[in-house]
């Protein structure tokens, strides 16, 4: 064994450990050597093209440049990922593909967008992404919301109005939904009466006497509900008060209640505790184009009224 090894040995390093343990000194494989030289050459070229070496309080900028528009002027500067990103946002392949549609949508009226299948297809696909990134956390990815917390946007019942313009204003400026708590103003009996009245408005079976008493509270000074909900109880979009005559509930969890008592309790709870909710304003976070696309998208979610 030992003999054979020494016979075939090309070269050894000359070190000997524990008496006879030796180390071969074969040349590196050819491909490896060339890969090494190639990477050295790559580094040299890289140093010339890109920002690399610190020099004093500055650094070599490299010879590659990137051009983009800034403030109406064309700026040409040395290559870096930030400049590259601006270029990509302005003239990248994907950006240009979208820009053609974006320009069309931005300059079109809502009526024109809604009646043009091509623009609508674009709006739906961009809108879905925007909605998922910004709105779904509250309103749900399909727009169904969470009863009591975040309104359903697909039911075509609106607190703040359902025209595209209304929805645009809602998204851009946000809203504070506010109804005072009545736990101090109304006692338990009165709460039950007015809750009966509210349920009667959407045709639920309720106690007639209670309803009559509730009517007085709702439409009189005691409750003053009509100031915000109107005498017809259809709600006012200027204060975002709910329409109480449809069977659609945004806050009171009536649909989930199994018996009449549960329904009453759900409505009473809202009246007792009041409502305080906030829809954030998006005008500083999203561009005007994005808000316009979202307004059309959300309008469509609600069936488009």
């Amino acid at each position: 064994m030992t003999d054979k090894q020494t016979d075939n040995a090309v070269q050894t390093t000359g070190h000997a450990w524990d008496g006879d343990l030796q180390e071969f000194n074969n040349p590196l494989p050819r491909w490896w050597i060339w890969a090494f030289y190639a990477s050295v050459a790559f580094a040299l070229i890289y140093w010339i093209l890109y920002p690399v070496w610190p020099v004093g309080h500055d650094y070599t900028k490299g010879v590659l440049t990137v051009s983009y528009e800034s403030n109406g002027k064309t700026v040409t500067q040395h290559w870096n990922t930030r400049a590259k990103y601006i270029e990509d946002m302005q003239t990248g392949e994907e950006s240009l593909k979208q820009k053609a549609y974006l320009d069309k949508v931005v300059n079109a009226s809502y009526a024109a967008i809604l009646s043009d299948p091509d623009m609508m297809a674009f709006t739906r696909s961009i809108g879905k992404g925007l909605f998922g990134d910004n709105c779904a956390a509250c309103h749900g990815s399909g727009g169904n919301g969470v009863i009591g917390k975040f309104p359903n946007l697909v039911d075509d019942s609106w607190l703040w109005g359902g025209t595209v313009e209304d929805i645009h204003a809602t998204i851009s400026d946000g809203h504070r939904g506010f109804m005072p708590a009545f736990r101090e103003t109304l006692n338990d009996e009165e709460l039950e009466q007015v809750a009966n009245y509210v349920l009667s408005l959407s045709g639920q079976a309720v106690d007639k006497e209670q309803v009559a008493a509730g009517d007085k509270i709702f439409n009189g000074q005691k409750g003053g509900c009509h100031y915000c909900h109107t005498h017809q109880a259809k709600g006012m979009k200027s204060v975002g008060s709910a329409n109480l005559t449809d069977a659609i509930w945004s806050i009171a969890d009536v649909p989930d209640a199994s018996d009449p008592k549960g329904k009453l309790e759900a409505v009473e709870q809202v009246i007792r505790n009041g409502v305080q909710r906030r829809m954030p304003a998006w005008r500083d976070r999203l561009t005007p184009e994005q808000i316009k696309l979202l307004a059309v998208y959300v309008h469509e979610l609600g069936g488009g009224k």
Binding site: H57, V75, R82, Y85, M89, A137, V146, K149, R285
Partner: protein, 246 residues
């Protein structure tokens, strides 16, 4: 014995030391210049240290390991801009110790989550993420609402941060420097001697957790989340201004 390849190879201690020297050269050449090239931290208005309440929230963020699933570093790519907003600046994490850039995104990046959602949403989402986002795999953090915020050592925590370069003030000279740099209203917030009062005042004024009767860990964490990425007003700067710093 003359100093040779062999003398290094047969001396384990020396081998380790020289190996460390060899590999640290690579790191040092890359990192050290960043400390003296002035453009490393972009010149930008608005970035400030955290208020005591926000800082307490930040400590809870690190304690709970939120960084294991959330990065705070938006990279300069189109898809990131469209989803999260403007790319992160070095300047924006200059007062972060330790920084929370992260490298793992099980959940979304949080660098610009501030003001995106309402306080009520954050409270609900942290308590029970699936009650608002049914698809979520984020854990529940119900104890944040139950635990009273412990801020007894807030001043000490600010002192520790001051040691690593955050400009909280303790002497009147330091305070004056802050007045010049951040304006009086802000400088008052960074005064270590007023840490407790400032913390309580902010919690009272903004009532982040929606419960006025108590000061909870939720108050602090939501205060922190709501300030993330909101300090710089990007509309003030030309496209390309920040690209000059790289």
């Amino acid at each position: 014995m003359k100093f040779s390849h062999e003398s290094i190879e047969i001396n384990a201690g020396l081998l380790i030391v020289l190996t460390l020297v060899a590999i640290s050269i690579g790191g040092l050449v890359e990192i050290v210049p960043l400390f003296y090239i002035p453009g490393t931290i972009e010149k930008v208005d608005g970035v400030r240290p955290y208020t005591p309440l926000e800082q307490a929230g930040r400590d809870i963020y690190t304690r709970e390991g939120c960084y294991l699933c959330h990065s705070q570093m938006i990279r300069p790519f189109r898809d990131e801009k469209l989803r999260f907003g403007h790319y992160s600046l070095a300047a924006e994490s200059q007062y972060d110790h330790p920084f929370q850039w992260g490298s793992k995104r099980t959940g979304p990046d949080l660098a610009r989550v501030g003001k995106k959602y309402s306080n009520a949403w954050h409270v609900q989402h942290l308590k029970a993420p699936r009650s608002v986002v049914p698809e979520s795999i984020m854990p529940n953090y119900p104890w944040l609402l139950e635990n009273t915020l412990n801020y007894s050592d807030m001043a000490d925590r600010m002192r520790a941060l001051k040691k690593v370069g955050v400009p909280y003030s303790e002497t009147s000279a330091e305070y004056q420097a802050n007045v010049e740099k951040f304006g009086k209203a802000k400088a008052d917030l960074f005064n270590i001697n007023l840490a407790d009062e400032n913390l309580l005042a902010q919690a009272r004024a903004e009532n982040f957790d929606g419960d006025r009767s108590r000061l909870t860990e939720m108050d602090a964490l939501v205060a922190y989340l709501q300030v993330l990425g909101t300090m710089v007003d990007f509309s003030q700067y030309d496209e390309g201004y920040f690209a000059e710093f790289r």
